[in-house]
């Protein structure tokens, strides 16, 4: 039975791992800690990335804003007729939004036109209780989950907001957003465009953004270019550009995540290589003895491969487990400060965590691959040496 030989080698590998406790603990602990940091960053980054993608889903095909002296100012509704002349435009609708400060926290009030705005099917996943805005709605709001928690709000409760002139406005809560859109909606108060205009004192002929919907999605880039040509000074954002911006801010491409990954990856490789390849004369002698007993080079490499896989899987599993505990139960202290620094003045909310199969596979790879190389290369070098020389530790 051919499998028996491999089981024998597995027995040998496990025995060696348990015998060389100091080496095993050193490798497992170092890798586990490195993997915990890597995993923690990967899971938070994955959560932010997922939210960013979901948030971008709710964005219009093209958002048109107006800039003056580099700052965003209200855009005239007259531009709607300019935009609508471009072929391939389905509709252009206004959006009015702004920030308010309440209890030393900043919230976003977003006014949309529920009659005109296409409602993506994903909205069902975004509302945890209540409903979405309807055409006849007035003085109603959908609020972010953590805003609801901060103000102890539920559906049908009244939310009182004060504008810049300290004038109170009452909104009846008709829905609460889910945790899934926390990145976008934790601080959000979604109202009708008319209520938003009233609140911010923006006249009917102006809006904060113009939301452009194209009849053919593949034409979006061309339409965006046309809008830029026809409305000088406009800032034109496609949904894809918004998605890219969110991903590069919060996702794996963000600077912090990249730096952490590169540093930790280097650390993991160095630790694993150093631990695994610290082949003492003793280890070389062992290879020589095994060869003298009839073990082939492949047999020896198989044993070392099994050792590396067992240690790598063990370290990665513990590291991933700790990363999940660190992120989910401890709220990823330190890491969250770096990754959500922008949220300091926003309502606090739990970190979005997403443990994807891809990131788990990558983490296992990061743990196992350097160990494999660090173990196999020196063992292979010893195994191709004459047993006599290897036994002398050469």
């Amino acid at each position: 039975m051919k499998i028996q030989r491999h089981l024998n080698f597995l027995w040998f590998a496990v025995n060696s791992i348990f015998t060389y406790k100091t080496r095993t603990i050193a490798i497992t602990f170092s890798l586990m800690m490195a993997l915990m940091i890597l995993g923690s960053v990967a899971f938070v980054s994955g959560g932010l990335e997922k939210e960013a993608i979901l948030s971008a889903t709710f964005a219009p095909d093209i958002t048109v804003q107006y800039l003056q002296a580099g700052r965003q100012i209200p855009i005239s509704m007259n531009n709607t007729s300019v935009i609508n002349k471009i072929s391939g435009i389905e509709k252009t609708i206004p959006r009015v939004w702004g920030y308010i400060s309440q209890n030393n926290r900043i919230y976003t009030i977003m006014g949309i036109d529920p009659a005109e705005m296409p409602i993506p099917k994903e909205i069902n996943f975004a509302i945890s209780s209540g409903r979405f805005l309807q055409v006849q709605d007035s003085e109603v709001a959908i609020v972010g989950r953590h805003l609801a928690a901060a103000f102890a709000l539920d559906v049908d409760d009244t939310l009182i907001l004060y504008n810049e002139s300290d004038h109170p406005y009452n909104f009846t809560v008709v829905g609460v957003f889910t945790m899934e859109v926390n990145l976008y909606a934790a601080d959000l108060i979604l109202v009708t465009v008319n209520d938003s205009r009233k609140f911010f004192g923006i006249t009917e002929n102006y809006a904060t953004d113009l939301c452009v919907y194209a009849s053919d999605q593949t034409e979006t880039r061309y339409i965006a270019q046309q809008i830029l040509n026809d409305i000088p000074g406009a800032r034109v954002l496609t949904r894809q550009a918004l998605k890219d911006a969110l991903l590069s801010a919060y996702g794996a491409r963000s600077g912090f995540v990249s730096v952490i990954w590169y540093i930790m990856l280097l650390a993991v490789i160095l630790v694993a290589w150093n631990q695994a390849s610290a082949v003492s004369a003793e280890a070389r002698k062992e290879v020589g003895i095994l060869k003298s007993l009839g073990f082939s080079t492949m047999d020896i490499l198989e044993i070392r491969l099994l050792e590396a896989i067992i240690l790598g899987v063990l370290s990665a599993s513990l590291g991933i487990l700790l990363a999940i505990i660190y992120d989910l139960y401890l709220g990823a202290p330190v890491i969250s400060d770096f990754m959500l620094g922008w949220a300091a003045v926003y309502p606090s909310f739990p970190l979005p965590i997403h443990v994807s199969v891809t990131s788990v596979v990558i983490l296992y790879g990061v743990a196992i691959f350097p160990l494999l190389v660090g173990s196999l290369v020196p063992s292979w070098k010893s195994a191709i040496t004459e047993p006599d020389t290897a036994m002398r530790g050469g």
């Binding site: 039975m1 028996q4 024998n8 060869k291 007993l293 009839g294």
Partner: protein, 230 residues
Amino acid sequence: MITRIRLENLSKTYFKGETNEVTAINNVTSEIKESDFAVITGPSGSGKTTLLSLIGLLTKPTKGKIFFDGEEVSRYSDAWQTKIRKEKIGIVFQQYNLLPQFSAWENVSLPLLCHDVPKEERRKIALEYMKKLGLEERKDFKVAYLSGGEQQRIAIARALVVDPKIILADEPTASVDLETAYSILRVLEKLEKEQRTLIISTHDPSIISKATVSIDLRNGTVTKVERFSP
């Protein structure tokens, strides 16, 4: 009697071309028959261990040829030489060369790992050989806790466990007490009767007295070959 091992103009030079170049074996030609009990004698540094390493295919000769059963094995690849060691040769090292992470019986059973033998059977076979060498009670001891004599007998049991045709032993009684040396000698005598080829490097007169052939080495060169009647 069939010639089991033939050495033809065999030489081994370490650190060739370097300032510390040493010729350990110089132009050795010899023949060892199928059921020979051969002893390699000579003072320390005469090349006994190197000659055993060459016969055990643990190192390649710088010059010359090694034949097993008429086949020139010295020109074989590392993989083929490993296969020959696995199937035909059992080696007892002077320094025992046991693996400290394993218990006594596990050390004895090590060569069986690459012979597709399951654990229970490995244990059974190992204990059988350990019993023959009076080591049964030490089966579960880590080798570090065994005496030199016990470790030597573990090394002998390990060399025998795959039932090899050729057994090489490097000064097997050099670091053991008289009683252990005597028990080792009895095992070796028994092996000789089992029609195996035994090649032992030794200074021990009690072993030399049992030999059927004696090869005397001085400075890596064979100075005398004596064949005795069994």
